[in-house]
């Protein structure tokens, strides 16, 4: 949609437009464009229209439906929605309807937002291209032969294609920010614990965070404000009240010390590196004190991530055993049924990571792999801590390249894993990070610049993101 979420909510709240009109427009765009893009795996036409009418009644009665009144949103399909299929793009959860809503879904609804559908993703959020989906790949709206990134590729594409102004994704090693970069939208991962994970189907519990994908930095900020805050149902949810980030967007970066991280520029494609350096110059022009900083520990982040995340996943995904819900493939006894169900239900990448993680936790290997990876995780946090003694915020590329072609990396898991190299440090440390579109690279494909801030430094992060957005060159046209 061309209008921002903030603008749409203002129109609905002031009765300039009805929520029904807004939702109908969104649904029409989805109907027209999504057969080609395949951002959605479930469109909730009737529910969305019913809810729109409800919002209109609330407005008509003189009440305020909330800051996202009437705004159509898309949800990544690993967020539980009561009575609505939630599959994580996996055959093993085909037909499963959760009996409850994720906390973020409750909070979006309470703010007046209208869920129009569930978006495609890499199965159980494992992947960087949205090709590992049982319902087929999503296409990048900027170039339909290319991937949207992943694993929240459906959510990123839905925003980039203008189907919705807002979407939620989840970010375990970059799964919000990397597709945001590849699709030319804003994608933000909050500090670990700022947003409740209750109702997010877990991939790697110590790394997962839910966050917004949006057309603008301000929309992302408003959305974060809505979904953030303590939740008694998530023990890792922080008790501190959510930081006020909406006002921070326009605050500017004058006098702020910004570090351009060598490890987040070197090794990226030349067209990406050029845009990142240009972004650094733009911040300097806006009054920031920009310097280059090396955080050598980042080089080991990816290896540590690909041990910790699969280890947790191997345990988190054990429950998909055919006993209680989802797919069951019958067999003579329970153990054989477990094996048959999991063999048929999980895709290749999920199986690969379950095996990796099982191995990393096994007796005799635990210390060499899992425990060692946790030590590296601490080192990465130490690297950040040292950098933040000198800087208020950091800057780098979000992804090493722009969007790659569908099928290009599917046969080479390692090259796919490298897509996450710039984003995993923030997950390992639990820090907030945001990807902001910053012009285009070769072939007119969008480039994303990543801003980082210390834990609970969301205000600094949004100030930085706002400054980047104001300085950004055009990030390219979406092909119709």
């Amino acid at each position: 949609m061309s209008a921002s979420a903030i603008a749409l909510a203002a129109e609905v709240r002031s009765k300039e437009r009805s929520a029904r009109e807004v939702v109908e427009e969104s649904l029409a765009k989805i109907a027209a464009g999504d057969p080609e893009i395949h951002a959605f795996i479930e469109v909730l036409t009737e529910r969305a229209l019913d809810r729109a009418d409800e919002i209109d009644r609330i407005v008509a009665s003189g009440s305020d439906p909330g800051p996202l009144a009437g705004v159509p949103v898309a949800l990544k399909d690993n967020l539980c929605t009561s009575g609505i299929p939630t599959t994580c793009s996996s055959k093993i959860l085909a037909g499963w309807r959760p009996p409850y809503d994720a906390t973020v879904v409750e909070r979006l609804r309470a703010a007046g937002a209208i869920v129009v559908g569930k978006t495609n993703m890499d199965e159980f959020a494992m992947g960087s291209s949205t090709e590992n989906s049982c319902s087929g790949p999503t296409r990048n709206p900027h170039d339909h032969d290319r991937v949207p990134g992943g694993s929240s590729g459906g959510s990123a594409a839905a925003v980039a294609a203008g189907f919705v102004p807002l979407a939620l994704g989840s970010d375990t090693g970059g799964s919000i920010r990397q597709p945001a970069a590849l699709c030319g939208v804003v994608g933000m991962k909050p500090t670990y614990g700022v947003v409740s994970r209750y109702g997010l189907v877990a991939f790697a519990s110590s790394l997962d965070q839910i966050g917004p994908l949006a057309g603008t930095v301000a929309d992302a900020a408003v959305t974060l404000q809505v979904i953030a805050g303590h939740d008694a149902r998530d023990s890792t949810s922080l008790a501190a009240p959510p930081p006020d980030v909406v006002a921070a967007v326009d605050r500017g970066v004058e006098g702020k010390r910004i570090g351009l991280v060598t490890e987040l520029v070197d090794g990226t494609a030349p067209d990406v590196a050029a845009r990142v350096r240009q972004a650094a110059e733009a911040l300097a022009a806006a009054g920031a004190l920009v310097d280059e900083v090396s955080i050598p520990q980042f080089r080991y982040g990816l290896a540590a991530y690909y041990l910790i995340a699969p280890a947790e996943a191997s345990s988190n995904l054990a429950r998909f055993d055919g006993v209680r819900y989802g797919l069951r493939v019958d067999a003579p006894d329970v153990a054989a049924m477990n094996v048959a169900t999991r063999t048929a239900g999980f895709g290749a990448e999920v199986k690969r990571r379950i095996m990796l993680g099982t191995y990393a936790l096994s007796a005799g290997y635990y210390d060499a792999y899992y425990a060692q990876a946790q030590r590296v995780r601490t080192l990465v946090a130490d690297g950040f801590a040292y950098a933040y003694t000198r800087f208020d915020g950091l800057l780098g590329a979000t992804a090493p390249t722009t969007a790659f072609r569908i099928g290009d990396r599917t046969d080479d898991p390692l090259s796919m894993y490298l897509s996450d190299t710039c984003t995993v440090p923030a997950n390992l440390a639990g820090h907030p990070s945001i990807s902001v579109p910053f012009g285009t690279g070769d072939g007119g494909l969008p480039v994303g610049v990543q801003a980082l801030a210390p834990a609970l430094g969301e205000q600094m992060l949004f100030a930085l993101a706002g400054a980047l957005e104001r300085a950004a060159p055009d990030s390219g046209a979406v092909t119709e």
Binding site: C80, T86, P98, P99, E312, F320, L361
Partner: protein
């Protein structure tokens, strides 16, 4: 013989360990469940504060150190485990290194007492009903997520009798602290025994773990059988294989479990969905203050109440009322004027026999009943009948006795009844007169029968004695 016991007890919390579902026994299957205890995708655990408190009570009662602790995941596939991993404490348990002094003065070391969640319950149906031969299985997840504390003893126990004493004393502690109801038959206290044997002076032998010990009787029998089995093996020149064995109560023997458990690698790792648990000094002090008195102290209190050394039977009665948490009833009744020995005996026998209702018995009514009995207004048999009624419906003892048509006989009709029995059984009477006290029971029994139990047995005995002294 070297024995270590692992005791799992279900904590008497209102709700489960990680969710708000009721922690209740015996409800309709799969009614006390929610997304969390069913392990539905996206659900997360939140630690129950009351469970932590009860675990701390157990630790304090066992003189453990309450330490900063954490939770791990124990990963293995089993249909009655909703997440296919169990959340348990692993290398950092909440209670470390305690001791338990048994009534005979011996001491058993406690290695740890940690918190974990229970699994659901599988019932195999059809076919042979055994795991391998059933047609299908039903799983009840009501028990899934019920809080457990596992108490691991040091290998300090030297005999089956000491193991029983340990389990009994531990059970008394669980009940006295309110941490658990300690009912073995309902599975709220489950005991596994690690048994090994060695020659005097040698190091520890290879141990076997025995599971499925559902009663104190099983515990004693299983340990005895297992020790004999191991000794026989060693004497025949064989060796003991470290394994888990199943106690078959019917067959009276332990059997090697056809289990892949030895091959299981539980892949323990820190539970990322929970944060560390480190009860501060203030919280610990609060729990310690609420602990109340422990079984040894409670037993000493009852001994004091009796005045003088208790008989062996009274020692057993004291142990039993403290173990079932009924000592407060004895103390209360005694405080209201009832004779302490009678209060103890009635509590240990009649009241304890109705464990379900014992808690609801009004101490005032109980004391009044005991006074009626002691004063001879009700016979022992009548008093027991009134007590049974009191336990079921409550009420006022005198009224109940009247309503039941129970009133003691006046001394005239009692003397008449005794005289009739003497006339009817002259030979027995002669024996009694000549000093054979064993016949007294026979005569008394016939008087009781003739009076439909209305006579007070003690008064009958007194009358018989009076008549004997008169005829000598």
């Amino acid at each position: 013989m070297v024995i270590g016991l692992e005791v799992h007890c279900e904590l008497a919390t209102r709700t489960k360990l990680f969710c708000g579902c009721p922690n209740a026994f015996g409800d309709e299957p799969n009614t006390n469940v929610c997304p969390v205890c069913l392990g539905l995708p996206g659900a997360l655990p939140v630690l129950n504060r009351q469970a932590v408190e009860l675990a701390m009570r157990i630790g304090l009662a066992l003189q453990c150190e309450i330490a900063p602790s954490s939770f791990h995941r124990k990963n293995y596939f089993y249909p009655d485990m909703p997440k296919d991993f169990q959340i348990s404490q692993y290398d950092a348990p909440i209670n470390k290194g305690g001791r338990l002094e048994l009534p005979d003065g011996s001491v058993v070391g406690i290695e740890r007492a940690h918190i974990e969640e229970d699994t659901g319950k599988t019932t195999h149906v059809g076919g042979s009903g055994r795991i391998g031969g059933a047609d299908y299985a039903l799983v009840d997840y009501n028990r899934a997520g019920v809080p457990l504390v596992e108490i691991v003893s040091a290998p300090d126990i030297g005999s089956a009798a000491q193991a029983r004493a340990y389990a009994g004393e531990l059970r008394a502690i669980l009940v006295a602290t309110g941490a658990s109801d300690g009912r073995m038959e309902e599975g709220s206290m489950r005991v596994d025994a690690n048994v090994s044997v060695r020659r005097v002076g040698e190091g520890l032998g290879t141990r076997c773990e025995i599971k499925n010990l559902n009663s104190m009787r099983s515990l004693i029998r299983a340990i005895g059988f297992e020790a004999d089995r191991q000794v026989a093996l060693l004497e025949a020149g064989d060796r003991v294989v470290q394994e888990t064995r199943h106690w078959d109560e019917g067959e009276g023997r332990t059997l090697s479990m056809r289990s892949k458990e030895e091959a299981n690698d539980y892949r323990y790792f820190p539970e990322p969905d929970l944060v560390g648990l480190a009860p501060d000094g203030r919280w610990q002090a609060e729990v310690a203050a609420s602990l109340g008195s422990l079984p040894a102290e409670r037993r000493a209190g009852l001994v004091g109440l009796l005045g003088g050394d208790p008989s062996p039977a009274q020692v057993d009665q004291i142990r039993s009322v403290v173990a079932s948490g009924l000592d407060d009833l004895v103390t209360a009744a005694s405080g209201l004027g009832a004779p302490a020995p009678l209060a103890l005996a009635r509590t240990a026998n009649e009241v304890a026999a109705d464990a379900e209702r014992a808690g609801g018995l009004d101490p005032g009514a109980f004391a009044k009943l005991l006074l009626l009995e002691a004063g001879g207004e009700l016979s022992a048999t009548q008093a027991k009948d009134v007590l049974a009624e009191l336990l079921i419906h409550g009420g006022e003892p005198t009224e109940i006795a009247k309503a039941m048509g129970l009133e003691s006989m006046d001394s005239g009709s009692l003397a008449g009844a005794v005289a009739q029995v003497i006339d009817a059984y002259p030979a027995e009477w002669e024996k009694f007169v000549s000093g054979d006290d064993k016949v007294a029971g026979f005569l008394t029994g016939h008087v009781m029968r003739a009076t439909a139990n209305k006579a007070n047995g003690k008064l009958v005995a007194a009358e018989l004695a009076r008549l004997r002294s008169g005829s000598n």
